[in-house]
Symmetry: C3
Subunit: 261 residues, 3 copies
């Protein structure tokens, strides 16, 4: 065990209310040596697909042994399960709502999933509205102290899954859609880099043709609408030094088409 | 002393300006071993009651020995005191504006309060507009190095206090109000869980009756207006998978009534 | 080397997308012992002057040995250089866009600048849209492991610079402008404290005379428009317990004049 083990936090709590801070306190109360890393607390409220794409972009960068506490949890207080997922040699503590399952596609080995049932690792009393503070955070703390996932509950073999809408083959190319908008207003689609590698292929978003294919934003002059391969490995539509979401009034779900060149 | 002592930061500075970052630098300049934990920098500017409720929700979760630096400070540069408060086996460095005093109700022992007067623990010169950087952060750093609160200044026995508006008994129940709105738009009131335990009691917010009493948000179908006990231990009004503040146009101060069942 | 070396992060990424989290993962993947400190992820997108003033306010507070990763990078993917800058006994990893150069004025010794060219310290493959994750973060990690700047690439003697608009002397005083707006709506100008020390000098912003000179915000009653010396050491215009930017409809570029008293 590390002298100062890392636990990351990802939530949809925002930072005006004390929920994130309370979870940090609980982590340190269980193990005062933890290094806490904020992944984000700005996930749009209860947006499981956003959370799933966020985790897909972030978790694979972390080293083996990292523990992630993930709280986007519209079902808090119901009988939905809470999970400890072992994947990519890391551990995720997460409600059973599928938001971690895009990561499974990136892993060589299938995940080991434990349903959290051992209440002795929880904070008491458990508030029915805040399992992040009262179950997930203290369990993460105990993992850093050497408790094994198998001690936390019972193995699960089925769980909720989330999937992205699949792009469709059309007569002359591929039809997909925007699945994520980043903080610059860049529009990330569900079309894989491999499906749009031909630089002659024409890209259209909504009814707007995208005039330029580039490698990087600054390959075009400021204000130009461009298509490129995002750092996610997916087709992305952007405005060089601008905000494509605002300029095109585009959002998650806006259709995108790639015509064979 | 811990090898990597924890200091938390709570401010109303936001993150666009360098004020939070400057405080972090000063902490590490005094003691490079500190682990810094962000509680929040999104407290609404100069909103002492918001800060007080935030601290009440967060500080009790932290372990003994934690040091908190709290900068919501409309009186910066005046002769208002700066305090080191020992409470709940933790230490708070905070302007004397009452924002920590809701915590005193949760403690078994009265707080020990020191007025910071020993300028040798401060950063020089002290800017009259930024005591967080020049007094509170360096003092926190020195506390982690083993300086005792009594060395920081002189004991105080009176200080500013803040209190929530008290709910009033009415002919047929209890009248209170919204005191905090969280990031989901959930409305936390000043009515204690004990004052509204009867599941038959009718809850009204403004002129709107709340149709459902639930244990957890997801006990009602999405969009339903519900009343429940918040993780603060107070009556809360929410919209399942929605935003009650927006839907009801409610805010801090909106009246809430609980009728005996 | 510290047991838990500090690396700070400053970006314009915001926190909805996974970019910041990915960089944190990469840092820990190179050196799992790093303590990560967030400076800010709320720099306005691609606003180099804002970044420059932020760094000027924050970096000088940090102790020798701190490593800063700075990603405000409108030129990502082009042939603009990436730099390791040694300055103020700290190290900055930053695109060559000038955003660090206001710091050079504060240093006694000139900076040592290395162009990052040694790809063996990078994450492969390098995405042309995300050098923060694939070059700057892993290089920072290697610096914490004892790699020296000279091993990272080749020395540079010229680089991009950024400068603030200079205030101009006028017939009866000094003419400057707002260069930074903080989270309270306080307006920081490019006029140095030394240029406006006379308490009788009249300050005007746009067409509005500023009626009060104060040392601290709370020296005037709430709502009063005041001029004071900011914690940056520059003339600042504020509204006591209010928001000057909103009240005056002022922003970066709004003219400010100081008349000799």
């Amino acid at each position: 065990m590390s002298a100062n083990p890392v636990v990351t936090l990802m939530t949809d709590f925002g930072e005006q209310s004390p929920y994130v801070a309370a979870m940090k306190g609980v982590l340190l109360a269980v193990n005062p040596a933890i290094r806490i890393i904020d992944l984000s607390h700005q996930i749009p409220p209860q947006d499981l697909r956003h959370a799933a794409l966020f985790l897909r972009g972030a978790v694979p960068c972390f080293p083996p042994g990292t523990i992630h506490v993930i709280v986007v949890d519209p079902g808090v207080g119901t009988d939905r399960a809470l999970l400890c997922v072992e994947l990519l040699e890391q551990k995720l503590l997460v409600p059973d709502n599928g938001c971690w399952t895009l990561l499974a596609d990136l892993a060589e080995r299938p995940p080991a999933v434990t349903r959290l049932t051992e209440a002795r690792y929880w904070r008491q009393p458990v508030a029915p509205t805040f399992h992040g503070r009262d179950i997930l955070a203290p369990v993460a703390g105990h993992l850093t102290l050497g408790v094994t996932p198998s001690a936390l509950g019972t193995p699960l073999t089925t769980w909720q899954r989330i999937s992205l809408p699949a792009p469709r083959l059309t007569a002359d190319g591929v039809a997909g859609e925007v699945v994520f908008v980043d903080g610059f207003g860049n529009l990330i689609t569900n079309i894989a880099a491999e499906q749009c590698q031909d630089p002659q292929s024409g890209v259209t978003i909504g009814a707007t043709p995208v005039p330029r294919r580039v490698r990087a934003y600054a390959d075009a002059s400021p204000g130009t609408l461009v298509a490129l391969v995002s750092s996610f490995g997916l087709l992305e539509i952007a405005v060089a030094q601008g905000n494509a979401a605002r300029q095109l009034d585009a959002a998650v779900g806006t259709p995108v088409h790639v015509r064979r060149g």
